[in-house]
Every structure is written in C-alpha cells, then in structure tokens.
Symmetry: C3
Subunit: 153 residues, 3 copies
Amino acid sequence: MNIENKLKELGIDLPEPPSPIASYTPCKQAGNLVFVSGQGPIINGKQIYRGKVGAEISLEDAYQAARYCGLNLVAQLKRFLGDLNRVKSIVQVKGYVACGITFENQPQVINGVSDLMVEIFGDAGRHTRCALGTNTLPANIPVEAELIAEVSP
Amino acid sequence: MNIENKLKELGIDLPEPPSPIASYTPCKQAGNLVFVSGQGPIINGKQIYRGKVGAEISLEDAYQAARYCGLNLVAQLKRFLGDLNRVKSIVQVKGYVACGITFENQPQVINGVSDLMVEIFGDAGRHTRCALGTNTLPANIPVEAELIAEVSP
Amino acid sequence: MNIENKLKELGIDLPEPPSPIASYTPCKQAGNLVFVSGQGPIINGKQIYRGKVGAEISLEDAYQAARYCGLNLVAQLKRFLGDLNRVKSIVQVKGYVACGITFENQPQVINGVSDLMVEIFGDAGRHTRCALGTNTLPANIPVEAELIAEVSP
C-alpha cells in the first residue's frame, strides 16, 4: 500500500521535523542505508515531556513520548527522501530511556517507536532493536530514538 | 575452517536464541550487513544474572554474562542465516554494562563477547567496538550486547 | 581540497592513534562503510581528562575532550585508509558523555567532535548524530565517541 495513504488511514499527521540543536544533520545516506539522527519528543517546536521515566514520567507517558520520537524519525525520513514509499525497510531502531537505576521496563517504553514503525510500514517496518537505560538525556527529555532505514536506489 | 566444526572443537553448544520481549525482530539484513538486536545473558529461556556489575555482580561473572550475550548473538545469526559459514566478518560489537558511577572496567566485561567472536570466527571475528556504562538495563540484566556482521551474498 | 593540506592549514597535527585496550580492532570496513571503535581523550598515550562532566569537568573542558576523541577518530581513519582523501563522507557520530543525572548539555559537548569533522572534511563532514548521557565510561573518561565513514572504493 502507498505509505501516504496509510498515514491518512491511520490518522497520522506527521509533525514538522525538528532542526538539529547542534552541528549535525538529521539524515545521511550511504549506499542504500539512510541514518537518522537521534530524535526526542519535540512536536512542532515544543518539547512535550521533561524528566526521568518511572519518576517524573509514567510508563504510559513514556510510551507516548517514544511514539513522538518515532513520528519525528518518520518525518525526517520524509523530508530527506521526499517520498516515504522509497523506504524499503526499517533496519534498526535504538532507543534510550532516561530513568533511575531500578527501572527495568525500557523495552515497553521503546515499543512506542517500534509499534509505530510496524503500523506505518507493515512487515517492512519490523526492525532490529536495542532498548537501553541511561541516567540523563539532552534537554532532560525522557526518551530518545535513532534509526537506520534501507531505501530503494 | 568450517564454523560448525569449530564450534564442536571448542565445545560450544549454541543456546536456543531468545525470542524478542517486545515489538521487534532479532536479525535484519540490508545489503550484505546483518544487524542483530541487543541480547542479554538469557540462556534457553532462563535469565542467568540480575543486578549491577561491581555491586551485585563480580567482574568475573560479568565477563561470563557478556559471553552468554555473545552466544545468543551467534545463535541468532545461525537461526537467521541457516549456516554460520555465511558470516564473512564480525564488523561491530556494542556492549552495555549496568554499573555504578565508579565502575571503570567496561572493556574487561565486554571482552566476554569479543573473545568469543575471535574464538569462533578467528581473524574474521575481530571487530570494532564500543564498551559503555549505563545505570540500568532491561529486566535488570547486568550486560547487553548487539552486533553487525557482514555476510556473503 | 586535499585533506592533508587542509589539516596543515588548520594547524592540526593528528595524534598517534591509541591502541585498543581490549580484544578488538580500531577500524573495520564492510562494503564502502568504515566503522571506527569508540575513542576517548587519550593523546599520544596519555589520558588527558578523568571524571564526570558538570562535576569534575567543565563544559569547556568537555568540549575539548570531545575534540580529542574526534582527533583520535580521524587518526584511526588515517592509519586504516592510508590516505584521508579516501573519506567520501562522515555518515554518523555517536557521542557519550559521563555526567550526573541533572546534566542536559550533551549536544554542546559532542559538538567538539562534530565541529572538528566539518572543519576537516567540509560539507562531507556533516553527519548524523546521537549525543547521549551515561553514568560512567571506561577508565573514567568524561567523553567517548565512535564514527561510521563512507569511503571511496
């Protein structure tokens, strides 16, 4: 199915992809791989969540924050590729969860990114993954995610 | 040398590769690269270690935990590729060690993965690496590792 | 412009690339991608900084530490490739900042790597990036960075 139609069907309105907050670029292609820089839960210029998951941010809100990261990853891909139908496969997602030392549910948080990729891209959206804990992230965001996609030439 | 014979010679019996505990896939190929999702010290369905390295887990146990992560990485590759002789090279290993802020020996821990790759694949098993500390990992595992391999077409 | 001339123009004298402190290799190529192992602020065998950014290490010193990591990444590429003019593009930088849980300026620290890549390689040096916090790094270094480059065949 056409990915743009799929987005409409899902009621997903992609946000404006955030500008990098430092000396780097959101996407870069090497061969058929496109790398996307780490994205946080910033939607249309506004940071939606601040704080550590499990303390200031509930598991449910953290899942939603991860989904926002995923929406930004897809929005960056769209701006870079012009057309999301050029995405052949989501190869890898790395997700980072800012949390205290007793928090163990990073996978459930990063499912917010993973579920979105499968919703949008179907089987091609199924990816390898690493969900990690960290003590703190830039601008005190609770979740950050990055992605590698394979694209058609 | 044939890798299956090498495993027998080393007395290595690969574990059952763990199923993902969330919405992702253990391996994905893009071109000649195969990405393997983060693996923990879960052997045949049983989580072997829990806790932070340097506090609840000794350096020796952490090395062994890292080796278990490595065995799962190889087991995932075998299930995905069918035949480990298709592995041309281990390109990169990333290892994450859950530990307190004064722990400095992440490289010695992640050698448990690295040494295994060289034992099994010889020179082709020599890889680039990043060994990192983190405050906490999923399910309170002490070590997690992920891998990128190059495979023959 | 020839990259060696560019280094001279910038007054950059690349350090001796550090030897791995464990069972891995500094660089590995797969197709046209070269992966470089995590590098710390170790210049010509001497560790320049120890401690956590924001506590024992100021933001200014952390930026400089990140720049040293970047110099080592470039030095590793030079040893591996023989000639830095073979670098077609810096694809990705991952930077890790050891810090306390209230530190939020990881991007400003990792700019020390990113700015260096753009100084040396110009537009081809613009890369995707992830700047992360961590509670501790090997040998108590404050910053570590790794890199993926695309090279000409």
